[in-house]
Symmetry: C2
Subunit: 461 residues, 2 copies
């Protein structure tokens, strides 16, 4: 069977991508607000209508706050008309992964355990969005407790891929990825412990940004694995992600613009596990379209990555939910529960040994990045598997779905470097991503490079 590979970066089924934001950046929308050709209220009304229409198919929203969103939009319009301008997110609808606290609202974490948990106050990242004038549309579906990269086990059911609703959105921030991919919001918040932003972004054909560790505060965000958890953002373009990120991190992106003679390192994906060759060659094609001939580089000790990552994540996740496992009367999904329970069996020496390997990997990555401005590699080794699938085939090999989906992303959670996925093409109509990894404190070059690639892809497509 020959796959049909296309560099067309994002082509959800038209009827499932009919949100207002399918073709509009927040900069363009903001321009319309400011030249009075559009109001936030009008925008939010259309967004709500699209969300109500598509959510039964895509299952991306846990809750939609119609009344509050309209009120916030009216307030945003009133402020702008008085010349009070809160910047690029003023009046822009955003969605929040339902593991992040919004004052007075449920934070279910996708679990029956927390079906009644109401947040007392906004997480810092949510407070920053509000202060920037963003309009909170609602909370999005996630894999239960954010402990699943497939996005198909949740109190609220599986979120569905707008490119094919029988396929996974990816997880755990699946609902946020779907809401952006379907054009229902231009920006959504997620969290990423092993790839939980980048994997659904790649599978749904949108941009996903996991910033440097701790760049966006995690307070008010319920933890999964505290040394690996990152808050980040989904958007339709790298520029939109950048604008949202600067607000969420409460600072401008760091570093110089990308140099003319930028150096891009290609992290050969083969040692990370099976990868669809069309995704590897598609990523390289996109780099070449942007005029880049990447140099191949390789990591040592990558063959142990899955064990290193799993020892750390499962131990930390077990501790985060140990009390829930022991006292929970509402059931946790059996698959999630079994993984959480098994994390309790990891011995401390194994955790510590993994932490030593983590430090070595981090030193390697920092050394490699001295020679490059950006590293590039595929985001996910396959396009979206079918919902419920646990043993898909990747490059002729039957793989364990979770290990495969996060095989290319989890390294950057261990190391804490900023990593961005951008849409790089489709295979048989399903998107795949190109992952770009930035040097510490040089996010600007990373976003510059991403925008250069996006331009090249747009021109070619």
């Amino acid at each position: 069977m020959t796959n049909t590979v296309s560099i067309n970066p994002s082509s959800p089924l038209p009827e499932l991508a009919s949100g207002f934001f399918a073709g509009q950046s927040i900069t363009e929308l903001g321009d319309h607000f400011r030249d009075r050709s559009l109001t936030s209220r009008a925008l939010v009304e259309r967004t709500l209508a699209a969300a109500v229409r598509l959510n039964p198919i895509l299952n991306c929203f846990v809750s939609i706050e119609q009344k509050e969103a309209l009120a916030a939009a009216e307030k945003a319009d009133a402020e702008l008309s008085k010349g009070f301008d809160r910047g690029p997110l003023h009046g822009i609808p955003v969605a929040i992964k339902d593991i992040i606290d919004v004052a007075g609202k449920l934070t279910t974490s996708g679990s029956a355990l927390f079906a009644d948990r109401i947040a007392a106050s906004d997480a810092t990242c949510v407070a920053r969005l509000r202060a920037a004038g963003a309009v909170l549309m609602g909370k999005t579906v996630l894999h239960e407790l954010a402990y699943g990269i497939t996005g198909d086990r949740s109190l609220h059911g599986a979120s569905r891929n707008p490119h094919d609703p029988t396929r996974m959105s990816g997880g755990s921030s699946g609902g946020s990825a779907v809401a952006v991919a379907a054009g229902l919001v231009p920006v959504a918040l997620g969290t990423d412990t092993a790839g939980s932003i980048r994997v659904p972004a790649a599978l749904c054909g949108v941009v996903g940004y996991k910033p440097a560790f701790d760049a966006i505060p995690t307070d008010g965000v319920h933890p999964l694995a505290s040394s690996l958890d990152h808050v980040g953002v989904f958007a339709r373009t790298a520029r939109d992600a950048l604008l949202a990120y600067e607000i969420l991190a409460d600072q401008r992106v760091a570093g110089e613009p990308m140099a003319q003679d930028h150096r891009v390192g290609w992290v050969a994906p083969a040692p990370f596990g099976p990868v669809d060759p069309a995704i590897t060659s598609g990523g390289l094609d996109v780099l070449r379209l942007a005029g880049v001939e990447p140099q191949s580089i390789a990591f040592d000790e990558i063959e142990d990555l899955s064990g290193i990552f799993s020892a750390i994540q499962s131990s930390e996740a077990h501790l985060a939910h140990r009390a829930d496992l022991q006292h929970a009367s509402p059931p946790i999904d059996p698959e999630v529960r079994e993984r959480l329970a098994r994390g309790g069996e990891v011995p401390a020496w194994r955790y510590l040994q993994a932490m030593q390997a983590r430090r070595r990997l981090s030193e390697q990555a920092h050394r490699l990045l001295e020679g490059f401005d950006v590293l590039a590699m595929p985001s996910v080794p396959t396009t979206a598997p079918r919902i419920g699938e646990r043993s898909p085939m990747v490059d002729g090999v039957v793989v364990e779905v979770r290990a495969a989906l996060l095989s290319l992303t989890c390294l950057w959670n261990l190391i804490g470097l900023p990593a961005l996925t951008i849409p790089a093409g489709t295979i048989d109509g399903l998107p795949f991503g190109l992952q770009l990894v930035g040097a510490p404190d040089r996010d600007r070059a990373l976003f510059d490079f991403a925008q250069r690639i996006e331009s090249a892809v747009r021109i070619a497509a």
Copy 2:
């Protein structure tokens, strides 16, 4: 039975304290060198003679490097006579705990496992001593693998307390404490993971200083528990410890001198476990002698200290020696082996939970120290138990000897703050110590206060 409590700070059996340094500070000795009334060569000869005489009784030295020490002393004399002066340790004999590498010499770590291990190069701390002109006398006895606070299980046998050779020196740096207490060297290196400098210093009646975490580099020092291991120093006075510390840390002590209106917090020892009341009141007496009326303060969560500490130490120690446990053909002492093996059973969640508690304790300590210049508390809850004793009585309670001996010191390894023990008196002829804990980056005030107490004790005694 009434104990005889005395503030006389240090009174080993005279025949076991006959080293040259029993009554001389390194400053005084240095003055003698520089006014030509003494040579390093003459000093080292007398030191060697005393070491050869006393070591069969006290078992403090694993090895004595007669030839090299004499050569180093001659070099030191020649340099001084040419006006090349390396500072306060120039020509001064020092001893090195046998877990610290000295180039070309064995580093046995007190274990048959490493009976033949020769160090390729000096540990940084040893190199700094050498560069400062110190004369290396030899390596000192330690509890096997530094994993024992009793100092009585070692490839080389128990080091013995000069105040009563049937009693423990304490450990793991027992030999270094004994060598200083017996006047065989004025300064010795040790390591301290749970109290392994401060406990033997207190039991042997000398000064022991565990600096802030990482203040003295640990490279070339074989690890026990990497997040708790500290390199530090034994001396007869706080000033000698300070002079040696500045060379070992390669920097002057930090911070301002102790303020006139210094504030001393008394950490009530009762919540840490049983403490001999004579040691508690003796410590308070010494503070009052120095004109200080301390304010009592208390820690939360201290009742869990032993479990918190043990989860962390035993896990890290297991990882450090896991390969040794699995492949060792020469036997490890059964008690040490059993404790190392048991550390492999600690689950990672328990380690991580302990690390969370550690962070809370650290935050508490830093908050407390905002109100004080120095915290004071007993160093060890009992005087030296008999060698081999495992269930001594403390304040009418039968205790587990290891848990008891380190009950007051291990907190400061968890937190990494500088902690000093100074001799505070004797009970029935056996020494006890007063522990002083300093604020971060304020070692100068800590040493100033220790010297003030030493003066007060000298005057009173």
